[in-house]
């Protein structure tokens, strides 16, 4: 096994945890942005990376979560962090409802359908659906989150909230990956016919992947609403879905570390090169082309090996 890998991960985590001490507010805010995209991409990774279902409408689930949180907070004065599970639930149920009739579609067809779903949600929000979403202006006046009596306001405070959620997500998703559920998603991705033929209810796991990935997007939406205090349909356009799709593929579909690394590169690098704003997208496009030609499996491809020989010997010698 690679001994450099755990060390690199510990170092990266330590560096990140202390980052707010030596970065300015703007830089920390970029990190917060990366954290939110990381959360979204980790959710999408379940759908796209682990289960191999082409979803290019992830922003729709993000939007459902953000608007659920915003409406619950502004209309019913529910503290924004309490809306987190409800936002996740709303986005998850929404995903189940839209995925149910289309999830049997093959890769490219599913991709087109999910693009459609993303656009429908955005347009519905712009048109002030049910008179509750505030149209193109969105919803404002979302209250600041409070945790243990501390009002979270500054980027440094949000940093620990957001990256705490990222850390928790990593732990939960790593456990999921090592389980019957996580394996089922992989069987689905590798060969659906063989999966069904091995006794796996493929229809159920496709929906479960969508539901869980979307629930994570929904909770991230609530965090986003809390951070911005104002949300509008613009934040959930098609480009967001494309960027998330890119992060997962670029990072190495199915690899948590790879996906987070890609979130850093895709969201962070453009911030570093702000002065070349006009050339940014050109470089970005070129990098994507080069990556797909020379390293289609992503920066850190998912490894098949998840059991150590030692564990096997100990358990079943």
């Amino acid at each position: 096994m690679n001994h450099g890998k755990p060390f690199a991960i510990v170092l990266a985590a330590a560096l990140l945890a202390t980052a707010p001490l030596f970065l300015n507010a703007y830089q920390v805010d970029v990190l917060n942005s990366i954290g939110l995209y990381g959360l979204l991409a980790l959710g999408l990774n379940l759908i796209l990376g682990e289960a191999g279902l082409f979803n290019m409408g992830h922003a729709a689930f993000y939007a459902v979560g953000a608007y659920t949180a915003a409406m619950l907070n502004t209309r019913y004065q529910i503290p924004i962090l309490w809306t987190l599970p409800l936002s996740g639930l709303a986005a998850g149920l929404f995903a189940l409802a839209v995925a149910r009739p289309v999830v049997h579609l093959r890769g490219d067809y599913l991709l087109i359908v999910t693009i459609g779903v993303g656009e429908i949600v955005r347009i519905a929000l712009v048109n002030d659906i049910f008179g509750m979403t505030g149209g193109a202006n969105g919803i404002f006046g979302i209250s600041r989150p409070q945790l243990f009596g501390i009002v979270i306001r500054r980027p440094q405070e949000f940093f620990y909230l957001i990256w705490g959620c990222v850390a928790l997500t990593i732990v939960l998703f790593l456990r999921l990956k090592q389980s019957r559920f996580g394996r089922a998603l992989n069987y689905l991705r590798e060969d659906e016919v063989a999966a069904e033929g091995s006794g796996i209810n493929t229809a159920y796991y496709k929906l479960a992947a969508f539901g869980l990935g979307a629930a994570w997007a929904g909770m991230t939406g609530a965090l986003f609403a809390a951070k911005m205090t104002i949300i509008s349909p613009e934040s959930f356009n098609f480009w967001e879905s494309v960027v998330l799709f890119m992060i997962v593929i670029l990072g190495g579909a199915g690899n948590i570390a790879g996906v987070l690394l890609a979130a850093f590169l895709v969201i962070g690098l453009p911030e570093l090169f702000r002065e070349f704003a006009s050339a940014r997208m050109l470089v970005f496009g070129l990098v994507m082309i080069v990556m797909m030609v020379f390293r289609p499996q992503g920066l850190l491809p998912a490894g098949g090996r998840r059991f150590s020989l030692a564990t096997l010997a100990r358990g079943h010698g």
């Binding site: 456990r175 999921l176 019957r180 060969d191 063989a194 091995s198 006794g199 059991f307």
Partner: protein, 271 residues
């Protein structure tokens, strides 16, 4: 070519309780009748071979049994339960397991993970149990792992447990598919050309493996082109041609059947 003794000839008196009964099974694709009113039974504990020239409809029969296709007409009963309309994973749960003609492994996963797929439906742990690492979930994972390793041991792939499936030799990939199927703890194992692409040595080992699977009390239905294997491993043959059944009976009897010789064996004087 019959110098080796048939391995099943000494057991003519197995009580013939049919485990799988197929009646008047018919399936058409567009204008083509792939399977036409085929009936036969697979007796409990037996090894039955489904043979016939290419395009005779053998694999279609398999796909009908495992629910990959819906029959247009006819019945399939497994242990008294009609299989019509059941989704494949439900049929697997009833106790039928299969392998595929063109090997379908989870290529980028490990050998062990491939076999764990077969253990899947007997396990219960869901999302929450996995996220919370409940003790019951860990125990279940451990048990599944143990069962998967046992099946790998059984087919002789224990040493390769952590290799990626795509890196296995061809014959090993076939055996891995069998291990994955056995991990579902089936009553009936359906093998689609298990010796396909195997050399003589590997085929010999496969015949031994089939005998050992049978010793576990698992009934076997197989499609095979290798006549040596069919003659030695099966106690009953069902012959298909152009979607219809043209003969059924003991291998010795079937290979003397004029219709079979004309349709199939006649073109292949090796048998």
């Amino acid at each position: 070519m019959m110098e080796a003794p048939p391995i099943v000839s000494g057991q003519p008196n197995t009580v013939s309780i049919p485990l799988l009964v197929i009646q008047e099974l018919t399936k058409t694709f567009g204008g083509l009748t792939a399977v036409n009113a085929v009936s036969f039974a697979v007796e409990k504990g037996s090894v039955v071979g489904l043979i016939g020239p290419n395009g005779a409809g053998k694999t279609t029969v398999f796909n009908l049994i495992t629910g990959n296709y819906r029959p247009d007409r006819g019945r399939i009963e497994f242990g008294g339960t009609p299989l019509a309309g059941l989704r494949t994973h439900r049929i697997i749960a009833l106790g039928i397991a299969r392998t595929f003609q063109n090997i379908r492994l989870f290529q980028r996963l490990t050998v062990l993970e491939n076999v764990l797929a077969g253990c899947h439906y007997r396990m219960r742990g869901g999302i929450l149990a996995a996220m919370l690492r409940l003790p019951s979930q860990r125990r279940e994972e451990n048990d599944g792992m143990g069962r998967a390793l046992k099946e790998l041991e059984f087919v002789g792939l224990r040493q390769q447990a952590l290799a990626l499936a795509k890196n296995l030799a061809y014959g090993d990939q076939r055996r891995l598919e069998i291990a994955r199927a056995l991990a579902t703890q089936p009553r009936l194992l359906v093998l689609d050309e298990p010796a396909g692409g195997m050399n003589e040595q590997e085929t010999e080992a496969l015949i031994g493996l089939i005998a050992r699977i049978r010793e576990r009390g698992i009934t076997i239905l197989l499609i095979e082109h290798d006549m040596r294997l069919v003659m030695r491993a099966c106690e009953k043959l069902v012959v298909l041609e152009n979607g219809g059944k043209i003969a059924e009976g003991a291998p010795e009897q079937v290979r003397r059947d004029p219709k079979v010789i004309e349709a199939y064996l006649g073109a292949d004087d090796e048998a």
